[in-house]
């Protein structure tokens, strides 16, 4: 999976905006998007929010979790715990990038938020690598990791799966005589 595909999935998340136009409720296949009144906050999917913002028809309100104090707390918690802590949002990395690239004027302290989110990301990726390493070195067959987001899984996916495949191949050497003359169809 591409990071762009993960970003596409992230754009379905809802975010609050304050439009400066008025429009009736629109009925889309994915769901209804409530009536727009100037100055009244309304929840819309991120893809629509970014589009409206680029056409200068709205102002994006930052999500609750995108706040310096809260992110600092989360970062400290992440550094203390050995396992993964619950994330503020399942798509925190993508939302940070999208919202801070397009709407940084609506979000105060954008640079600090960017740094904090990057710190959280780095800590989590380091934990992921550590657990992948212990997984392989103990030759376990199953592992369970809670609170991982799709982006993190995506960066590790190809490497981890390939190495687990290699390990499986080498382990099957230890049990000889399991299969001879299997035909492969191509």
């Amino acid at each position: 999976m591409d990071p762009s595909e993960v970003e596409f999935l992230a754009e379905k998340e809802l975010v609050k905006i304050i439009p400066n136009f008025s429009l009736d409720k629109i009925y889309l296949i994915g769901g209804d998007i409530g009536p727009f009144n100037p100055g009244m906050p309304v929840e819309v999917p991120v893809w629509l929010a970014l589009n409206l913002k680029q056409r200068q028809k709205c102002r994006i309100v930052q999500p609750d979790w995108m706040d310096v104090a809260k992110l600092e707390e989360i970062r400290e918690l992440e550094r203390k715990e050995a396992t993964f802590t619950p994330v503020p949002s399942l798509y925190y990395m993508e939302l940070t990038k999208l919202l801070l690239n397009h709407a940084s004027d609506n979000i105060p302290k954008a640079d600090e938020i960017r740094t904090l989110v990057k710190d959280i990301w780095d800590t989590r990726i380091a934990k992921l690598r550590l657990s992948a390493d212990s997984f392989i070195s103990q030759q376990e067959a199953h592992a369970k990791l809670d609170n991982l987001t799709l982006m993190e899984i995506n960066t590790t996916r190809s490497f981890l799966l390939n190495s687990l495949n290699c390990m499986y191949k080498l382990r099957s050497n230890l049990q000889p005589g399991s299969s001879t003359g299997k035909a492969q169809d191509y």
Binding site: P3, S4, N101, I136, T155, F159, C166, L170, L174
Partner: protein, 211 residues
């Protein structure tokens, strides 16, 4: 996008090898010293050192793996294959001590693949060989993972030269994951760029117009 129009056949699992896999085909060209156990009449031309018409019993020859595997029979009447020295007792203790310092590319670029194929030849040390290969892989995994995930935009040839082909494939997978994430983060994932292969031709008129 990572989807490719050509999907290569991966190397086989363990002692099996895939007929169509390019890696397995190249692997089967590795030469092994082996000893003929019976007479090969009128094949003397294959053996350059002696001038006789047939290959005598007990001659030591170098055979590629595919030939040795084909001729090998459980009743051991035809050839007996010697284990290459990398899989023997001496080197196994080296790998046990510290797998990360060994230059696996020099030891035969297909260390893991050849080791798995050697298990066909019923040596009494088979379980130890299999265990040694597995432990070497596990020992080197950490180093491969760290180097592939942290070397962004640098010359990686120094890191890659000590890895064998299996590990190089893993390294490449890790690098491509890292590169695609970094390019996404910088926002260049969705911009179209001219392929580096075409830039070298210097036949693109648009760049002359812009210059």
């Amino acid at each position: 996008m990572e989807t490719q129009s050509y999907v290569s056949v991966p190397p086989g699992v363990g002692m099996e090898d895939n007929f169509f896999s390019l890696d397995d085909i190249l692997l089967s060209h590795e030469r092994l010293t082996s000893r003929t156990e019976c007479l090969f009449p009128r094949l003397g031309f294959l053996e350059k050192s002696s001038d006789s018409r047939d290959i005598q019993e007990g001659t030591k020859m170098e055979m590629p793996l595919f030939l040795a595997k084909g001729l090998y029979e459980r009743k051991r009447r035809v050839v007996s294959v010697e284990l290459p020295k990398v899989y023997r007792e001496g080197w196994r203790t080296v790998f046990n001590a510290d797998p990360t310092v060994v230059d696996l590319h020099k030891m035969g670029p297909y260390y893991y693949g050849l080791g798995s194929q050697m298990l066909h030849f019923d040596s009494p040390e088979n379980p130890e060989i299999a265990q040694a290969i597995l432990q070497t892989f596990i020992g080197r995994f950490r180093r491969t993972m760290d180097s592939s995930q942290n070397a962004y935009n640098e010359d990686t040839s120094a890191l890659v030269e000590r890895l064998d082909y299996l590990e190089r494939a893993l390294f490449k997978a890790g690098q491509s994951g890292l590169n695609s994430f970094q390019s996404w983060e910088r926002g260049c994932a969705s911009t179209l760029t001219a392929s580096s292969l075409v830039l070298n031709y210097r036949k693109r008129k648009i760049t002359d117009l812009q210059a």
